[in-house]
Symmetry: C4
Subunit: 265 residues, 4 copies
């Protein structure tokens, strides 16, 4: 019973020395396994070291399988773990290798293990990063409607511009179909600009210029949305109220009220 | 008479169950019709399924025609609807297909139906999105002058840089004329960078480098304009109205109207 | 004497009806002359309409010459006008055509006339645009040091990265010399990305990836500088102090103090 | 003894006339040496002027060697200087030329001298630029966690998207391996968009469109982070120090220290 609890601490928590070592080793193995997938995809390397890479992949998958089984066995409520975010990711990290026995190429999906790197935040000073992440998420969530309205306008613009360019330039200039035109419009509006398709006619270049200037200018809109939301979030993060003077806009690290010097909380 | 009112509720409003079903069906048909236009423009698909697509297009156009007629017949003041924003868009959504009987290719303009997707905001919680949209629009309207000054400077810069590059690089390096030079300047300044035209001489590359750094840095200007305006707007989200002069853009911490000095709320 | 004063009003001021007509005509002629330069540079058009364009160019230059002479003759202190910003631009607008009698191709410099379009702000509600322009300029001026520090870091980074890429990729992959490498670094860092030169080796692509992520992230720095400066500028624009409660952060359009309702001068 | 102190003032300080002249000369020599490295790398120039450039390089390296030796000899605590940031840079500025006697091509590393240009801030009004630099650095340091979380998400996204594109497009469309796919994902997400690799299949172009829109939108996140941090930093430009606990980052409207509750100023 005690051994099980000890194991639980090592595997699920990062406070004890053993837990820390376990977490760091796990991260290193995850990193190794991601590099492995990449190397395997490079033809020159894959040809030469096929066997070594293959063995390593199975070793790592074995470790992950054991780890996953342990987690399921040790945890008090296995069902809750299995269907939690981390539980699903842990399972998905194991499956691709087994799947590759049946489906060729599917083992590249192992790259999904990258998400397991999220565990890195457990080793770092957890709270500060969780707070940072939560603040980011809150700012994005709060500006949900504005971002939706913005994206809707962009998609509408892209649909119409893409079709117009298809009509103006036509298949002979690389705009083979309306979807291609829309693809070009997105490439241009987001200022990516591959150049694999680009307008050749004067009219097309003029319309493209308009699209670019618009795309260049409207980047200001999401930026403005997120920034103003972040400023508001970072300001109203702290809900403490000074018991003495009722001032309520304290910084996160405030211990005393900056207005009257009274202790807060 | 009652039937007419019921129909009015279904077609024009989104509160009742019938109205909601009507609006969602309409959105799905609009989406289907946009996908239809796209598919028709892909040569491989268009060749194979010409007949099916053609029939579908006429069916959808039929539905839209009926819908438009109903709207005109049911509404109390038809003229007001016909010349309203939505009225014009609804008409434009129908015309291209009929036009295609006379002008080849014009049915691609059906893509204008994308604007009808705006109705999606009627089904979603309307108020929050309208507010978000109105705030965005207000921020952009308020920074009108600054954006105009900014765009004016950019256009001036682009005109002069484009001409200089035409003189430096010349037609032998792809800068065939001054308009081409200006097109290149816009492509570069907005950081799109297709690469279909790019400077070859050392002088040209040096000038291009300057343009890029300037283009990269001045994106900060519209962003700053819109962001600072949005922060101001979000601050004055206050909905209080001065009982004396009816001014309605008060700061959150306002106690007296800044326009007439009357006490608010 | 009276005629001279009347002429002065028409030419130099935009308040009277005559002045407005004069300014608008001038703007249209400037626009026409810019379009003229562009058309002349397009080989197909230039070949066909050489004579018409040539005549038009001389007519417009004639008009500008007369206008410039009138300005010099009418103004009270000719020297002050001649060496003012507008005076120099007005002269430069005339010179290229005369110069083209001696130097081939120099008449393209006529494009400098674009700067004359600045006069458009005289016709528009002058004050609001001047204020907008001045606020923009002030925000940029105030963040001078930060922008300098930022640009210095960017140039340093670009110099070092450009040289490294030259050493890594070498002339065989298009990085012909260190200046070329630096040109590539600027093209990449500013996210323009022509693709005329791009890394081919794995090491080069890895370094390039780093540069891109850095370039993508540090755009946040000038944006942050300008935005925070603009917010500060727009806030502290008004230096009025309420005589009653000494509150000093009034909006630009405030007539009464929003805190105590007292009139602010 | 006095001579040594005088020399110290000239070399290490920029207040006296001698010190200023020394610093400016040094800057010019550094600039000359950077231009030298660039010219040497251009084949056409290098061939013609090989001897001149070679001699100049050794002259400049000689000057720098003398300068470095003087600095070491004159300074009171040589060890502290040698291992300081500037000491290491000064040494690195000299080494490449000597190294080039043994390793071919290594003299291009001379470009590291660019970092020595940092001395320019010593000549300019030092304080304002140091302050600007420190504020920038502080804003970036304060938003460390948020930027880390952001970069982590971006890297994760890039890994997964890169692999997916490798599976979708495959080597026949230029996605030769997973690292290449990741390289493409970075090029696209950062809106650089070389176009040396670009998706050819419909599925690939659809996924690419998603990536572009995401990349275009999330630039708002680092911008928001840095901007909101800068606004906060510029607000707390307050230089007051708490007499009790020496905390020095008070808000402008602070009356009591928020850390210990002691009255400030």
């Amino acid at each position: 019973m005690l051994a099980k609890q000890k194991l639980y601490e090592v595997i699920f928590e990062a406070d004890s020395r053993g837990g820390k070592i376990f977490d760091i080793s796990l991260l290193l193995i995850i990193l190794a396994s991601i590099i492995l997938v990449m190397l395997e995809s490079v033809p020159a390397i894959s040809k030469e070291y096929r066997h070594v890479l293959n063995v390593l992949e199975w070793v790592i998958t074995g470790i992950f399988t054991v780890e996953y089984s342990l987690r399921v066995l040790i945890v008090v409520k296995p069902q809750k773990y299995i269907f939690s975010f981390y539980g699903i990711i842990d399972l998905l990290a194991v499956l691709p290798t087994y799947l590759s026995l049946f489906v060729v190429g599917s083992h590249s999906l192992m790259v999904i293990r990258a998400i397991r790197l999220l565990r890195v935040f457990r080793i770092l000073k957890l709270n500060r990063y969780t707070l940072a992440g939560r603040n980011l998420a809150r700012a994005l969530r709060n500006s949900r409607e504005k971002i939706f309205v913005f994206l809707f306008s962009v998609i509408n613009m892209v649909l119409i511009v893409g079709t117009l360019m298809y009509l103006i330039e036509g298949p002979e200039n690389g705009f083979k179909s309306i979807p291609t035109g829309i693809y070009w419009a997105i490439v241009t509006m987001t200022t990516v600009g591959y150049g694999d398709i680009s307008p050749q006619t004067a009219t097309g270049q003029f319309l493209a210029s308009m699209v670019m200037i618009v795309g260049y200018a409207i980047i200001a809109v999401p930026t403005g949305i997120v920034t103003s939301e972040m400023i508001r979030t970072s300001r109203s993060n702290n809900t403490q109220v000074c018991p003495e003077c009722l001032y309520d806009q304290h910084d996160d690290d405030a211990v005393y009220c900056k207005k009257c010097g009274h202790k807060i909380n």
